[in-house]
């Protein structure tokens, strides 16, 4: 058995759409046999990127278009998810920033920087490119 499931969301980068994004990831990935651990890893990774686009990507722009393409494939032994986020906001490579220092004590911890670091930890691969829009591609695979 080999199967491909895919869904594309063309939405506003607005936190009101976060539930839709997270629920769609669960729908597509669970359809391809991913367990909750894999699903949550993908949800967290996409959430961190989507929230950044919603909060900073468009400054004060009225329209904040964002496309999220979620694709999951599986055969008898393994599955793979490929999630692509595209936005037309400010050119920004979320992975370019240096990783945060995770050895800092509580009192020395700042407010940010952990989200994208979590994404890097949770995904098998991540990629950023710019082609008139910001494009991020995440991949994660699992065994069945």
């Amino acid at each position: 058995m080999a199967d491909t499931l895919e869904k594309q969301l063309d939405i506003e980068a607005d936190l009101d759409n976060l539930d839709l994004v997270l629920d769609t990831i669960e729908e597509i990935l669970s359809g391809a046999g991913a367990g909750m651990k894999i699903i949550k890893a993908c949800q967290l990774s996409v959430e961190e990127l989507f929230v950044n686009i919603a909060n900073y990507g468009y400054a004060d722009a009225k329209e904040k278009p964002c496309s999220i393409n979620i694709q999951a494939k599986c055969d008898d032994t393994k599955g793979n998810a490929r999630i692509e986020l595209r936005d037309k906001g400010l050119k920004f490579d979320p992975f370019a920033k240096e990783d945060p220092d995770i050895t800092l004590k509580i009192k020395d911890r700042g407010v940010g920087g952990m989200g994208i670091y979590m994404t890097k930890n949770l995904m098998d691969s991540w990629e950023y490119k710019y082609d008139n829009e910001n494009i991020v591609i995440l991949e994660k695979s699992w065994n069945l």
Partner: protein
């Protein structure tokens, strides 16, 4: 997300139920503003029914620990599920916080 709060003198217990995503974290942060008073000595956050935490949630926990340190009090994270524990682990916080 449902946030339940049990207050007993200078001890407060917070029970989280649901997905602690960025939207829930905004709600939780607002709740914590009223909970984290200067005379709070014991804070327990029960996460038994919270199996998902984004970095926005993590930030609230770090801030709560900072406040409890300033108060010379304690913060205990109780019943933390494996997937959430992993987030504390990967961000270097597992050794800096108290779990039970």
């Amino acid at each position: 997300m449902k946030i339940e709060k049990i207050v007993e003198g200078n001890k407060t217990e917070v029970l989280l139920d649901g997905r602690l995503d960025t939207n829930a974290a905004a709600e939780f942060a607002k709740e914590m503003e009223t909970i984290l008073t200067p005379d709070l000595k014991e804070l327990v956050i029960d996460m038994q029914n919270c199996g998902y935490m984004a970095s926005s949630g993590l930030r609230i926990v770090v801030n709560a620990q900072k406040t409890m340190d300033a108060n010379q009090g304690t913060l205990v994270l109780r019943n933390v599920p494996g997937d959430v524990m992993e987030v504390f682990d990967m961000t270097g916080l597992a050794d800096l916080l108290t779990f039970e």
